[in-house]
């Protein structure tokens, strides 16, 4: 899809999803502002490839749970690249946390990383985009904005907060021609370890619970973001795109039964 000359801000660009976003948007011709905890080091190959293909890439390393930093990042995009078109908020801090034993410090760390930064980025980007009456915000969220994890209540609470932020922003910023949506990403490789729970068996043999038997990938999430940021998605606003291959459709926690005797159902 064409993102020619679009200016795209990607947060948490070091993660597998962040790096897939770099590849996806630079392939479409976008210029990028990245926020990267490693200062770009962990995404070095993807950044180099993006630059080689003609994208301007600016790398920052800011704590986006501080308002001044979120403003500074958006101002950089405005000043250096002529205006922010797309914000991809990709923060996804996960840490085990039980309701009974979680510390206040851990609660705040996860809430700040995922929810407060989402709020501050939406404010900063929303203001810049509203001045041009155009723009698009994509929050990379999780199926755990709906489904409990059984391992980190503060993670899912932070995603629940982002879900409502997106809907509020879709209403308020929608008046200014800005669209705001979330991607509720489902299981990808490694999620059985990330979401390991002693309370639920959701991630036991989890690939067998996706109807197709195939897990998703960071690329799938980047493609969805690319679509949401494109003109073809111009009427999508305030939506939560469940991107889980059907993982959450089971009435209860069931493994898929494979069709017997060949491939036909």
């Amino acid at each position: 899809m064409n993102h020619s000359a679009q200016v795209v801000l990607i947060t948490d660009a070091d993660t597998p999803v962040g790096r897939a976003m770099i590849r996806r948007f630079s392939a479409g011709g976008a210029h990028l502002v990245l926020n990267s905890a490693s200062g770009g080091a962990e995404a070095a190959a993807d950044i180099a490839a993006a630059r080689a293909s003609g994208s301007i890439v600016i790398v920052a390393s800011l704590d986006l749970s501080v308002g001044a930093n979120a403003n500074q990042l958006v101002e950089t995009a405005e000043r250096e690249l002529g205006g922010l078109d797309v914000l991809v908020h990709n923060n996804d801090l996960l840490a085990p946390a039980s309701v009974e034993t979680c510390s206040e410090a851990l609660f705040q760390e996860v809430m700040h990383a995922n929810a407060k930064s989402a709020f501050l980025c939406a404010q900063a980007a929303g203001k810049a985009m509203a001045s041009r009456q155009s723009g698009c915000i994509v929050f990379v969220s999780s199926i755990h904005a709906e489904k409990p994890t059984g391992s980190s209540f503060v993670y899912s609470a932070s995603k629940g907060a982002v879900k409502m932020l997106a809907k509020e922003a879709a209403l308020e910023l929608g008046r200014h021609g800005i669209r705001v949506n979330t991607i509720e990403a489902g299981p990808v490789e490694g999620d059985d370890e990330r979401f390991h729970s002693r309370l639920t068996t959701l991630y036991h043999s989890y690939e067998t619970k996706v109807p197709s038997g195939q897990l998703g990938s960071a690329e799938d999430i980047a493609h969805a973001a690319g679509f949401l940021a494109s003109a073809e998605a111009r009427y999508l606003n305030g939506a939560d795109l469940r991107l889980d291959g059907g993982f959450l459709l089971h009435y209860m926690d069931h493994k898929m039964k494979r069709p017997k005797g060949g491939d036909s159902p």
């Binding site: 206040e104 929810a115 929303g126 899912s156 907060a161 409502m164 308020e172 309370l199």
Partner: protein, 258 residues
């Protein structure tokens, strides 16, 4: 349904919905810990009305944005009441600021009270409930846990977070006989408009006009009142709701359906 012999802690019981829940729980025989932070006059009014009706209650004060104050409050209620059977998390901040009017301070204030406070109250009451093998935790949320407000994005964020806090708490605490449920009220009339109109000569006419507007917007011809929420909370707190956990019950007279 009698609540005799039960001890309930109701946060934010000096005003509105919390006051309604405290009054109804006491009327049904519960011993109620009436919590307030700044609404001391309101808490005294709640106590006065409970005392007058022959009910049993005592007042506790705490800023639920602070963990140390929550812990001290819960210990006090456990000692004075002889345990806590029911926790009603209700105390919350709403500012009616739009996306651009909010700042880091208002964001943190709301998150700390509405979400962190709800969680830390749960954390504080759970050990004793676990020991007893029974407990009822009720989170007063809002229809804005699912539907945006268009007047306070951070308020909706806090309610969206509470929705997941409730679900996670429900599965974590179910093995100990503790249930966690949420009530999502729509508009609730806490008498604010009447107070605004107190000295208005046209008060009767204005109230009548408002009632007509409500007829169109609310299938049942009226907005909710605190007693509606209190009755549902009493059911959730009762033995009859034993199998109900992790549920969010919308209580809006059908208004969200229009």
């Amino acid at each position: 349904m009698s609540m005799a012999g039960k001890v309930a802690l109701v946060t934010g019981a000096g005003t509105g919905i919390g006051q309604g829940i405290a009054l109804e729980f006491a009327r049904r025989g519960a011993s109620v810990a009436v919590h307030y932070n700044r609404s001391e006059a309101g808490a005294l009014e709640t106590k006065r009305r409970i005392d007058e009706a022959g009910g049993d209650c005592f007042i506790v004060q705490a800023d639920v944005a602070r963990q140390d104050e929550i812990i001290a409050m819960v210990r006090e209620v456990e000692q004075r009441g002889g345990g806590i059977d029911i926790l009603v998390n209700n105390a919350a901040v709403q500012l009616n600021y739009d996306l651009f009017k909010h700042d880091e301070e208002t964001f943190s204030r709301m998150m700390n009270t509405n979400v962190k406070g709800y969680w830390q109250c749960i954390q504080a009451v759970v050990p004793a409930m676990k020991q007893k093998g029974a407990g009822r935790i009720i989170l007063i949320s809002s229809v804005h846990a699912k539907r945006p407000t268009d007047f306070d994005p951070v308020y909706a964020m806090t309610k969206g977070a509470i929705r997941m806090l409730g679900r996670e708490s429900a599965i974590e605490l179910a093995p100990y006989g503790i249930t966690v449920n949420m009530i999502e009220p729509g508009a609730v009339d806490v008498g604010k408009y009447e107070r605004i109109l107190a000295d208005d000569p046209d008060a009767q006419k204005k109230l009548e006009e408002r009632r007509k507007r409500q007829l169109a917007k609310f299938p049942m011809g009226r907005v909710g009142v605190p007693l509606d929420v209190a009755r549902l909370a009493a059911f959730i707190a009762s033995d009859e709701s034993e199998y109900l956990t992790g549920s969010a019950i919308r209580l809006d007279g059908g208004s969200m359906l229009l």
